[in-house]
């Protein structure tokens, strides 16, 4: 018959074991996830390069990678889940906004408005996304394996300075190019009268989306700049001590 004191410490040990297995499972899953995503975006990058070298043009490039892009970009939704259950220490809202804007571009712009798939702006944001995601996922992978090469860290916290604005330009130009086709086809529109007493005009919705980049982009950009100062500035101090 164990005393109540012994029971207490046995329970504590069990809880600690549960916590340790949970974080081991979480780390294993996250490592697998980040390796898989790095590989996926590498495949995308290589397919794009091969297409361009073989065909010499970007026309038809989107169609050749469309399915792979949709798969890997949509799968990124699980990252919101990671933040929500706490195995990744990032704000759910920041991650949510980032992933949703990508999903929006892929499914509601390039997938549904075929006439703009060969625009140069599409190639621009595809290249930017590929470079950014390969850097980001390999950074997370190496971090989880506790073996982070400096050049990956450098890339993660410096490339975005150029990539982010270029990506925004690519996305905005693509949406802008899509506007006339949306207006002409009347896609995703709901008109009055109807029993729900609501209407929706995709054309004006897209204009509002474009305008929303104005307040949102600077916030995300300065968030990354602040992260950069914290991660790189902190490292400089450690080196000095050594």
């Amino acid at each position: 018959m164990a005393s109540s004191e012994e029971d207490g410490s046995v329970e504590e040990k069990e809880n600690n074991n549960k916590k340790r297995t949970k974080s081991a499972v979480a780390t294993a899953w996250l490592t697998f996830y980040n390796i898989a995503m790095t590989a996926g975006w590498l495949v995308l990058a290589m397919t794009m390069m091969r297409f361009y070298i073989q065909k010499g043009t970007h026309k038809g490039l989107y169609r050749s990678i469309a399915r792979t892009l949709k798969f890997f970009q949509t799968f990124a939704l699980v990252e919101v889940g990671h933040c929500a259950i706490g195995i990744v220490r990032t704000s759910v809202i920041v991650t949510g906004v980032q992933v949703c804007s990508r999903i929006f571009m892929v499914w509601f712009i390039t997938n549904s408005i075929r006439q703009i798939q060969n625009e140069e702006s599409v190639l621009l944001f595809l290249v930017v996304w590929t470079v950014t995601e390969i850097t980001r996922y390999s950074y997370y992978t190496f971090n989880l394996l506790n073996h982070l090469p400096y050049f990956i860290k450098w890339a993660r916290y410096n490339l975005f300075i150029v990539m982010y604005p270029l990506g925004v330009i690519g996305e905005l130009l693509t949406i802008y190019a899509a506007l006339p086709y949306v207006r002409r086809s009347g896609m995703y529109c709901m008109r009055l009268p109807n029993k729900y007493n609501v209407s929706f005009d995709y054309y004006y919705c897209l204009i509002i989306v474009m305008l929303s980049y104005i307040p949102l982009f600077p916030q995300l950009y300065f968030h990354m700049l602040r992260q950069r100062r914290k991660m790189l500035h902190g490292e400089v101090i450690v080196e000095k001590d050594d």
Binding site: L192, K195, Y196, N197, V198, S199
Partner: protein, 308 residues
């Protein structure tokens, strides 16, 4: 009388901002804030946060100097809360907007709908009923702000008024546009649906008002005491047995009634967003009640009986 000395430092930079001598030991934080305001006129008392520790909680205006853990010279840390605006002002502004905006759409003021509809009224009687309910709701809120509510805090940050007014005014315009539209479609189940909706709406409006009166009566005029609310003789307050914040429960009910009455997606959306926000507030309030009162009734849920 042994006087105390008070020095006030900036919480972030630790600079000496002010030194007050000849302070009565029984002076309150509120009085010290007024003295600080004299030497720094740009920081009126409402925007001062005075604390014992730079990262600690703000002291209350009612706290008395000699009851605080300080010596003859008290060191306080100051944080600027930013420009403040009174709760009453914010409430009056954010509620007057929807009242007037909805009426503009109801009377079909020019430049909203096609010119041939200017200054006409809808042929559906439910649209007139909806206007009366919506207007009644906001007039009730304005009168409650002026005569019923007893606020714990005098002020809130100025930026809140822009956020709150955008929310209330924006949604009011969006709802009113569709309800008063020439192409509005009345509810599918007609008179039965509208009658049921009106009953729900009125029931919850009376309920919500009863709760506001009960909460007011918990607190003597000018005080900031906090007590556990209990059911009174008014049957509409018996919901206190099951719920901590029945004012929010009734508010949700009113808007569900209005959604049913108008059968309008924007109204449903407004109800949903309001419900999410009120649930967050109710959970917070419920948690404070549990923390503050040992004997808090265990059967109560924050906003929905037994569910949430």
């Amino acid at each position: 009388i042994r006087h105390s000395y008070v020095e006030i430092l900036d919480a972030k930079t630790k600079d000496k901002l002010c030194f007050l001598d000849k302070v009565e030991p029984n002076a309150t934080i509120g009085e010290i804030k007024s003295m600080f305001h004299k030497s720094h006129p740009q920081w009126y008392p409402a925007r001062q946060s005075i604390r014992l520790d730079p990262k600690g909680k703000s002291l209350k205006d009612e706290d008395v100097l000699q009851n605080l853990p300080v010596g003859t010279t008290a060191t306080f840390y100051f944080r600027d809360l930013g420009a403040q605006i009174s709760w009453v002002t914010v409430f009056l502004t954010e509620y007057t907007g929807p009242l007037l905006i909805y009426l503009m759409f109801y009377f079909r003021v020019p430049f909203i709908y096609a010119p041939k509809y200017d200054f006409t009224t809808s042929k559906h009687w439910v649209v007139h009923l909806a206007c009366m309910c919506h207007s009644f709701h906001y007039v009730k809120r304005l009168l409650e702000t002026l005569f019923v509510h007893r606020f714990s805090h005098g002020t809130m940050p100025l930026r809140n008024i822009f956020k709150n007014c955008s929310y209330y005014w924006g949604f009011a315009a969006w709802m009113a546009y569709y309800i008063n539209h020439p192409l509005y479609t009345p509810p599918i189940y007609g008179e039965q649906q509208i009658r049921l909706a009106l009953i729900i709406f009125l029931f919850c409006q009376i309920g919500n008002f009863s709760i506001h009166i009960a909460l007011r009566n918990l607190r003597p005029p000018g005080s900031k005491t906090r007590k556990i609310p209990y059911p009174t003789k008014n049957p509409f307050t018996w919901i206190f047995l099951l719920v901590s914040c029945p004012n929010y429960t009734y508010e949700l009910g009113s808007w569900l009634g209005f959604t049913l009455m108008t059968q309008c997606v924007p109204v449903a959306f407004f109800t949903l967003v309001g419900f999410i926000q009120m649930t967050v507030w109710a959970k917070g309030k419920h948690r404070s009640y549990l923390k503050e009162f040992r004997d808090y009734p265990p059967l109560r849920s924050p906003i929905l009986p037994f569910i949430l």
